[in-house]
Structures are given as C-alpha cells and as structure tokens.
C-alpha cells in the first residue's frame, strides 16, 4: 500500500501561519523516507498527521488529504511518551486501545518484546529501565498492532551511540520481516541513510522544496542543507571547528588565551545516572559556595526560564552571544526547544559563574546552534570556569578536558509482597467506616467497634508482618490530639467525654489505612476503578498516565526551587513574600505540566487512545491487567462491616 499525501496544510488554532504548507508526496511500500529540514519546518507535525493522531487531537486546522495504511508513531523522548507504569503495561497500551482481549494481549506483547530484543520482566517499572531499552519497549508497543507504516520522530536523539544502534537494529529488523514502510525524521540522519530510499526536504515555512532518491537529493541540496545547519554526513569535525572559532572570534577577548578552567564531561549510557551525578555535584556546590558563583542548565531547560520575557532572563549582551537578540521581547514559552536551551545557557552565563553545570546542553541542536553552545562552553572554560556537563553527544568530547564514565548501577530486583491490601479495599473500608461511624451515638458503641477493629487490623498486620507507613503516625497523632483538644475548648459546653468521642471516631476511620497501607499503587487502583467499579475507561486511564508523571513533576519542583535560589529569587521572609513565592512556583510548575500533557496526549493518541469505530463511536478499551480483589480485601471489608454492626448493637444497650 502506498502512502499518498496531497496538499496537506496544517495550522494550529490561534497561530498566524501554517506549520505545514501545501505538502504533497508519495511513498510506495518499502520506500523508506527521510524527512529533512531546519528546526521548525514541521517534520514532527507531518509524522503526527500521517499517524492520524494530529486529526483526533483536534488542536489544529488541517486541509488536504492523507491516504496511509495503519501507522505506528515512535516519539523522541521515551520517558515523556511513557503511558504505562511497567514495561508490560506500557507495551500493552496500544493493544488495549484496539480492544484486543486480555489473553491475546499478553501473547502479542511477549512476541513484540522479543522482536525488539528486550529480555526484561514485564513487571519492572519503566523508571528502572535505561532510555534505550524504554525506547525499544515503546517500539514493541507499536509492533503489537503490526503497523504497515513506522513513523519515527527523532527516535534516537536522546540516546548514546550504542543504545541508538540497538533501536535502529530493532526498527530495521521489523521493517525487513514485515515489509512495512518507514518515514523518519532525525537530525543525526546519517545512520539511517543505508535504508533510506527517498528524501523529502521541508523548509522553514513548512513547504516541501525537494523530494526524490536519497543520493540525488543529498547532492543537489547539499549547500542548502549545510546552510540550514543540518548534520550532513562526514563533514562534522571541520564544520564544527570552524563554527566554534567563528563563535569565539565574535567574542574576541579570550580566544587567544590559554585555557584557565576545565571542562569535564560525564558520559555513559542513557539512564546510567549522569543527571544524578550532576545534581549531586550541584548540591555539594550549593552547600559550599555562594549561589552567584554557580550556573546551571537543567535537562528540562524551560524550567530555568524564570523571567516572563526573553530579555528578563538574560541581558542584551548575553542574548547577542547566543543569537537570541531578535527574540528579546517574546515570551520564553514561544521559543523553540533549542532556543529555550540557549536562553537557559545565557541566563546561567550572565553571572559569569565560577562553576557551570549543564545537563545534555546540545540535545537536538542543529550545527549552528551546536557551535554557539559549544563555543560558549569553551569560552567559559577559557575565562576560568569549571564546567561540568552530562552528555551523550560524542561530538562534544574533543572539546573536553576530562571524561568521566558513569556506569549504570546494578538493577534493583522487583520485589512485591504477595499479600497486600488493594487500594480499592482501603478506600472502600475508610469511607464505609467514616460514613457508618456518623451513626454512633455513645462511647460504648464506638469503643466496642474500635476495639474490634484494632484487634482485627493489628492481628492482620502482625500476621502479614506488614506495617503501614510509619511516616504518617506522627501527623495522625497530632491530628487526633487536635480534634480532641479543639472539640473540647471550642465547644459551647466543654465536655471531655464528647471531645474524646470525636477524636476516637476519627481514629476509628483512619486506623485501617494507617495500619495497613504502605503505598497505594496507582495502576492497580486504576484497574480496579475501571473493571470492578466500571468507571469510564478514558478518564481513569488518563488519570493513571498523569499520576505516572508524579515523580517527574516532583523533580521539576525541586529543579524550580534550585533555579530560583541560584537566581536570588527565593522568598526573603514574611507571609506576603511566601505567598508570592508559592504563586510563582505553582505557575511555573503548571506550565511544565501543560508541556508534559501535550507530549503525553500525542503519545496516547499515537497508541490509539481515541480509536473509533466506523460510525465514529469510541471503541471500548480492554484492560491488559486484570483487576485484583483478593481474599485479604474481602476479609478486611467484612471486618469493617462487622465492627460497625457491633458498634450499632452495643450502642443501643
């Protein structure tokens, strides 16, 4: 089957100009196609449109026609695109969307994981696999549906060379056995050339300016592609050296001096802990030297942009150095990812820090911007800074004085206690007790119910040798004490017995969760809500995906706090400044959440979250993991009911 695109134009709602402008092309079966163009040319949008996800996202206006067999879309950052808590759940998402029955899903996922050479147990949380492995898990998720077209949007740009090679091998393997067609957008495109049969060239305005056989287009367009800053095969070292020199010349003063500082690079496979090492160094520095001496560019550079215009993040002089002067009055959110990265760099450099820490400063940059960033690093070093960077970019290594290899830490083994109370049971029991206990009228009934409950739950905890979360014990004790005291002295007729009743009643409904719940597993809860309570699947699944972002949002929050303290923006003292600080941090984190939501939506659409039947109705998802309701759940719920009944009966005596 041939892919046929005719007069495709795409314009986001609210934008002035289209991202894709009247694009037409064809790709026959097996005619693997590379899409080239400068950043902002609409390459990702084209792939999104081909996958069908752009249409169901309903965030853009689309004209023209697309004919394409069923396609699977692989995105740049596997972690941002993750939709399941574990390897199995992530790989199974597409099959669930396609309403495939549970038994078949496990077979399909097992086969697909083997196809991409992943030999990890499915129960492993995705946070415990490397970036390269996770990208192949995502690919396996696509393969469960045997797509006739593979759309690859920067599939290896976040990965080190070895991991990238494994992803390419997995892709090529599938293309060979399936006869599917690949459409690839990747800025380091050289490794894909052996399989590419056709090249499409898009320009800044989203127009298709050339298309044809690979060699022919590469030779005809060489000059233009180089001018755009594309990473052409073979020419890297020379181009880069020239560019860095040019960048340094413009900054005159330091180029001739002997280097005084030092550049150290942390390298190693994605997921090995380079960022963690970098952050450990940052914490050390924060404790040892004044914040003004530290410059930091986090991996999520957007978090470092605290000013609401480009100019407020870095003064004119520094904008000039990173070639952003033209954007001075814009808002940082309107910049492209690469521009945000440069602005964050300028914001870190403006204080001329003695220590400069950067997390993947060159990801996804074209050669021009790469040279600007690399040039700034060299210059900072020459000016005496100690530069520490975490990177998988081999092109940077010639500029580096010292390389530290970070090896992956040994994997934790997944251990999950067999007997644990399920989330639904805990929530059900707590609510049951809370509502039921409203009917208690005297201390006798309540006391009996509480004693019964304590006996059962303590006994169960003892037998299972599992205790709840000890961290909440202290706040719970304080809370109960506060209920007791305030219901005593804030009442119109202070009565110790009444106050004790109120506090014991609260103890009665919080005890089960205090005693038995260590953590609640969101995915297990989601399965129960969807399958046992039969709540609507899409909101439940969206909530599960969102809660999967919890840890990363927490880490964003910490990043924001550090960024603000480095920039001297933290609250001074007093309630007003604290409130302002809370508001500013909340706004910044919400912005981060919106960005994360856009990526997650695309990832979910790309795996059929919005699948509809021929009549346009949503297809009912299946659930790859069966909801659990164990004996323990039943036993504890029954015990809760029994304690209530006991309390009611004795209370009447």
């Amino acid at each position: 089957m041939t892919i046929v695109v005719e007069n495709l134009t795409v314009k986001p709602f609210g934008a002035d100009s289209p991202i894709l402008n009247d694009v037409s092309f064809q790709a026959a079966q097996g005619q693997h196609t590379l899409v080239l163009g400068p950043s902002g040319a609409g390459k990702s949008t084209l792939l999104l449109a081909l996958s069908g996800a752009l249409q169901s996202l309903e965030t853009t206006q689309i004209w023209g026609t697309i004919e394409s067999p069923a396609a699977g879309l692989l995105l740049q950052n596997a972690m941002d695109a993750a939709v399941g808590e574990t390897v199995f759940r992530d790989a199974a998402f597409g099959a669930e969307s396609a309403a495939i029955p549970r038994l078949q899903i496990s077979q399909l996922v097992a086969t697909a994981l083997a196809q991409v050479a992943i030999a990890i147990e499915g129960q492993r949380p995705i946070t415990q696999v490397s970036g390269g492995e996770l990208q192949r898990v995502c690919l396996a998720g696509l393969l469960t549906l045997q797509p006739q077209v593979l759309l690859l949007d920067e599939p290896t740009s976040m990965l080190d060379d070895a991991a990238a090679g494994e992803v390419r091998a997995a892709v090529s393997g599938y293309l060979e056995i399936s006869g599917a067609t690949a459409i690839i957008a990747e800025h380091l495109f050289e490794p894909w050339l052996p399989i590419a049969k056709q090249i499409l060239v898009l320009d800044q305005t989203g127009r298709l300016v050339d298309s044809g056989a690979t060699e022919q287009v590469l030779s005809q367009q060489a000059e233009r592609l180089a001018e755009w800053g594309l990473w052409l095969p073979g020419s890297h070292p020379r181009v880069l050296a020239e560019r860095i020199e040019a960048a340094n010349d413009q900054a005159q003063d330091t180029s001739s001096q002997e280097p005084r500082g030092k550049i150290t690079a942390l390298v190693g496979p994605s997921g090995a802990g380079k960022s963690t090492r970098l952050q450990a160094r940052l914490s050390e520095l924060l404790a040892a030297v004044p914040a003004t001496q530290i410059g930091w560019v986090p991996q999520n550079a957007a978090l470092a942009l605290t000013g609401n215009t480009v100019l407020k993040n870095a003064p004119e002089e520094w904008l000039e150095r990173v070639r952003l002067s033209a954007h001075a009055s814009q808002q940082p959110q309107q910049l492209s990812g690469g521009e945000q990265r440069r602005l964050a760099l300028a914001a870190a450099l403006k204080k001329q820090p003695r220590y400069l820490l950067l997390d993947e400063p060159t990801v996804g940059l074209d050669t021009k911007n790469w040279a600007i960033v690399a040039g700034q690093l060299v210059q900072a070093r020459n000016a005496g800074a100690e530069v520490l960077l975490a990177t998988h970019d081999a092109h940077l290594l010639p500029l580096v004085d010292e390389v530290i290899r970070v090896e992956p830490v040994k994997r934790l083994t997944v251990s999950r206690a067999p007997h644990s109370v399920s989330p639904l049971a805990v929530v059900a029991v707590s609510m049951l007790l809370l509502v039921g206990s409203l009917r208690f009228t005297n201390l006798i009934g309540l006391g009996a119910a509480l004693a019964f409950e304590l006996a059962i739950y303590l006994g169960t905890a003892l037998r299972l040798k599992r205790w709840g979360n000890p961290k909440v014990l202290f706040p719970v004790a304080i809370g109960l004490g506060s209920i007791f005291l305030t219901n005593w002295w804030l009442s119109s007729q202070p009565d110790l017995a009444r106050a004790a009743f109120d506090a014991l009643r609260a103890a009665y409904f919080v005890l089960p969760s205090v005693l038995l719940v260590e953590t609640i597993q969101a995915s297990v809860f989601g399965d129960q809500l969807g399958q046992i309570l039969r709540l609507p699947a899409r909101p439940v699944v969206a909530a599960m995906v969102a809660i999967g972002r919890l840890e990363r949002l927490q880490s964003s929050w910490r990043t924001l706090a550090i960024v603000r303290s480095l920039q001297g923006l933290t609250y001074k003292s007093g309630p007003m400044s604290r409130i302002r600080e809370a508001a500013a941090m909340t706004l910044a984190l919400t912005l981060d959440a919106i960005r994360a939501a856009q990526t997650a939506s695309v990832a979910m659409e790309a795996r059929g979250f919005n699948n509809r039947d021929s009549a346009g109705r949503l297809i009912k998802r299946t659930w790859a993991v069966a909801a659990k309701w164990g004996r323990l759940d039943g036993w504890l719920t029954a015990a809760a009911v029994a304690s209530l009944l006991l309390g009611f009966t004795l209370g009447r005596l």
């Binding site: 409203l438 994360a596 979910m604 949503l618």
Partner: protein, 198 residues
C-alpha cells in the same frame, strides 16, 4: 464487536484526549505544588491552625484550585470532579494525615465547583462564576468537616470556620484559579483550548 455497538455515548465521549490529559496532569502538578509548600508555607499555616483551627480554614481554597482550574480550562461537565479526585489521589500517594478519607473531601469539593458551572450551563467562565464555584465547594467541604472532625464546636466557632472556608474558596480557588489560568493563557501555551485563544 457487539461491545462496540453497546457502548453508549457518555459525557466523556466529547472530551478530546488533550482535555483529559491536561486536566489530569495539572491536577497532579497542583498536588505536587501543595506538597512542595511544605517548607515555606505550611509551617506558618499549621502554626495558625494549631492556635485557632477556624481561622486555619483560610487555606482551604488552595485545595480547591484543581477543580476550578479544570472547569475553566476544559469547560465541560466532569472536569472539576475529575481534577479534584485526581488531586486527592495524589495527596493520598504523597502521604496525608487522614488517609483515603481525602477522597471524600475531593468528592465534596469537586461536586461543589461542578454544581455552579452546571447552574450556568457550562457557558459562563468569568471570575464571578469561578468565585461562586470555589465558595460552594468550600461550603460542601466545611459541612463534611463539621460532621467528621469538628462536630462539637460552638455555633460561633463553626460560623468563623464556615466564613473563613468560604472566603478562602472564593478568593484563593475562585479568583486565584481564574488569575492563574489567565497567566497561563497569556504565555500562549493554551492554544489548544478555548481559554487560550485570543
């Protein structure tokens, strides 16, 4: 295949993926923010609350923010409820004092906001409607707390409790939520939503 045919169109069918996911992730982010206030906001608040709990209700509105923002952003039935339940769930995951009963708070708060937007037929999304939503939500929550935590307060103390809660709901979650969303819209990141289009 019958399953597909039997699938009745629900209110959720009108939701785009980006509506569901954005509401859900913003709710998680707000849950994270509340957790993050730990170091510089909550110590003050708990000092006040410990001294005289009724005045402590002045912070109630913070917890209702997800519901108001969800409703203002997506403008569809269910948004406030979904957002607030997810935020409650996040609180549960991060470890809170009252355990799963926080889901009941989430329900009360979500329903309160939902009712106000329903009264205005999901057609009005200004600051006044948001403030009303926050206020009703706070009312529901305070009534729930009257029954479960502070049943024996005197009428005077309960009145202070109620007024502080409602003020906070209207100001922090209502007007504050509306203002937060306006700031977000002005950065241009909400182009996919009606509120973000100028």
């Amino acid at each position: 295949m019958n399953q597909v045919q039997n699938n009745k169109p629900s209110v959720w069918a009108k939701w785009r993926t980006i509506d569901l996911v954005t509401v859900a992730i913003i709710a998680v982010a707000l849950g994270v923010a509340f957790w993050g206030y730990d170091t510089f906001v909550w110590p003050w608040v708990s000092a006040i609350t410990a001294g005289y709990p009724p005045v402590g209700e002045l912070q109630l509105g913070v917890w209702i923010l997800p519901a108001v923002i969800g409703a203002l952003l997506v403008r569809k039935p269910g948004a406030a409820l979904l957002a607030e339940l997810i935020a409650a769930n996040v609180e549960l995951l991060l470890g809170n004092t009252w355990g799963p009963t926080v889901m009941i708070s989430g329900l009360c708060q979500g329903v309160g906001v939902e009712v106000v937007f329903l009264i205005f037929a999901y057609k009005r999304f200004g600051p006044m409607v948001a403030a009303l939503g926050g206020a009703l939500s706070a009312l529901f929550e305070v009534i729930y707390e009257f029954y479960s935590y502070v049943p024996d307060y005197s009428v005077a103390n309960k009145t202070v409790y109620l007024v502080a809660g409602i003020l906070s709901g209207a100001l922090i979650s209502g007007l504050g939520g509306w203002a937060l969303l306006r700031s977000l819209a002005s950065t241009g990141v909400l182009g996919a939503f009606a509120v973000g289009r100028r």
